[in-house]
């Protein structure tokens, strides 16, 4: 059995509704349930804090105690100490760092985020950005944050040739607007999590694997905000060859 790596998981409470399974123990239980070996974890609660980087200490502590969980620390480029936080992420071998510019009230392709992206590029670490955390139709009335939009991803990937992006929670239309709005070299530096892309009977995921390329997609779930069975089920329904499945489930995120 090949390993399965989830690049899009969270620990911590969600401020807008009661979500079960937010502890590391619950996350590990869910991982065992669906056969996920390793999960990249972001600190869900800290996404909403004024200083999201202050959640990184807890994230590192959790990851040190449980090697199946790998930390994706937040780096907020408008706050003091962001370069130190980025250096620490590299030193601790984090698989990516996270930014949520629209939640932080920032231009998602502005100078500050471009500086962060370039810093990540220089350090050879991907920058992870989420298009959304949940369906816009069900947002809490007090959650007025804009979603990340395709133009911002196009702008970021063009901003520096060393930038590498990991985009989560994007749907088919989003992926296509970025992929076909980028040069082949630019597009090759982006990885897309599959959690928000529709599977059968619609052909969204199958088509993207053909048109954008199998090597651009990675396994992600968005748990515990979403049940992880969804990402497994859509791959199961595609009946992909073993090597294709392996690429999505771990090879492309390595």
């Amino acid at each position: 059995m090949s390993p399965r790596v989830d690049v899009n998981a969270f620990i911590g409470e969600y401020p807008f509704r009661n979500v079960p399974g937010v502890t590391p123990q619950a996350l590990l239980f869910a991982m065992d349930r669906v056969g996920i070996d390793t999960a990249w974890i972001s600190h869900l609660t800290a996404v909403f804090w004024g200083d999201p980087m202050s959640g990184n200490t807890a994230l590192y502590r959790i990851a040190e105690a449980e090697p199946r969980l790998r930390p994706v620390p937040a780096v907020h480029p408008r706050l003091d100490g962001w370069r130190t936080a980025l250096d620490e992420a590299v030193r601790r071998r984090a698989p990516a760092v996270r930014a949520d510019p629209t939640r932080w009230g920032m231009n998602p392709a502005g100078a500050e985020i471009r500086a962060l992206a370039a810093g990540c590029g220089s350090a050879a670490i991907p920058l992870l950005l989420s298009v959304r955390l949940e369906d816009s139709r069900q947002r809490h009335p007090r959650d007025g944050t804009s979603e990340l939009e395709p133009w911002a991803v196009r702008a970021l990937i063009r901003s520096d040739p060393s930038v590498r992006l990991m985009i989560t929670h994007a749907d088919r239309d989003f992926v296509e607007q970025v992929h076909f709005g980028a040069t082949p070299d630019e597009a090759a530096r982006i990885r897309w999590d599959i959690c928000w892309i529709w599977g059968p009977p619609e052909d969204h995921l199958a088509q993207l694997l053909r048109t954008v390329g199998l090597d651009r997609f990675v396994f992600g779930t968005g748990m515990p905000l979403r049940i992880p069975e969804s990402s497994v089920a859509k791959l199961d329904l595609l009946d992909l060859p073993r090597e294709a499945r392996d690429a999505i489930e771990h090879g492309n995120s390595a």
Partner: protein, 267 residues
């Protein structure tokens, strides 16, 4: 073991999608893969090609229902049908219900042509009672505003209709189809004739537990709507949190209890 998808759709040549035949074939093959024994389906007119999906003309209502009847003849046990009607045209709607139910359809589909609590839905609900069939009603989970392209209803509005027609089973569409499902569950928790269809692309953590808590196993119906992958995911999750007998109720027994007798092979 039977598995009834209470919320399926098919497409047809006169609809808006060029890939209609591929999508129909994909639904059937994905259904076969996961063990769906009956797709209870509707076709909403021309899917927007010659009149709006949620406001179908009478001609398109007939066109869509005829296409579904043809699919039912082609797959007599695998595909069962809801008669789709537009309640703004009362006489036409009642005639179409008599025609389609007489030809073997087993339920009524109301989408979003008229608010659920409007008096124009009463003759449709009366027809459901006469024919002893359930009504699947499109629902926006907590509609906080008017949405373009549809006159959507939410759980409160469907609840009002359900109270006026306590003998009719109403299937509240796609709890995972977008919107605040917690609001819906609270709105219909005490309405025994409202059943929750679990379909929709939403796979929120905690949603299925909330359904169990609010309405209980006896009022949960498994379904997919546009995405079978998410339906399968919810089924897999439910296998872990409910007993085998309760899972059977969600998979098919509850559906068999509200649709006409012998609607589903093997039940």
């Amino acid at each position: 073991m039977p598995l009834v998808d209470v919320h399926a759709h098919f497409h047809h040549r006169a609809g808006a999608r060029a890939d209609w035949a591929e999508r129909n074939a994909s639904r059937l093959s994905a259904g076969e893969r996961i063990g769906i024994t009956a797709h209870v389906a509707s076709i909403l007119g021309s899917w927007g090609r010659t009149s709006p999906t949620y406001f179908p003309s009478t001609a398109d209502v007939v066109l869509g229902n005829d296409a579904l009847l043809a699919l039912m003849r082609e797959h007599p046990t695998r595909i069962r049908g809801y008669a789709c009607v537009n309640p703004n045209y009362t006489e036409h709607a009642l005639g179409e219900l008599a025609r389609c139910l007489g030809l073997g359809m087993i339920g009524i589909k109301l989408a979003a042509s008229r608010r659920a609590d409007d008096a124009l839905l009463d003759p449709i609900a009366d027809a459901a009672a006469r024919h002893q069939v359930p009504v699947l009603h499109h629902v926006w989970q907590h509609r906080r505003k008017e949405w373009p392209g549809q006159e959507a209803s939410d759980g409160v509005e469907l609840g009002t209709l359900a109270r006026r027609h306590p003998q009719v089973p109403f299937i509240l569409a796609h709890i995972g189809g977008g919107g605040d499902w917690a609001h819906t569950l609270e709105a219909v928790a005490n309405l025994d004739n409202v059943f929750i269809d679990l379909s929709g692309s939403g796979v929120d953590g905690g949603m299925l537990e909330a359904c169990l808590n609010a309405v209980g196993v006896a009022r949960m119906l498994w379904g997919c709507d546009l995405t079978i992958d998410t339906g399968w995911a919810k089924l897999r999750y439910l296998e872990r949190i409910v007993s085998a007998p309760d899972l059977d109720r969600i998979r098919w027994r509850n559906a068999a209890s509200i649709f006409p007798p012998r609607s589903f092979e093997g039940t």
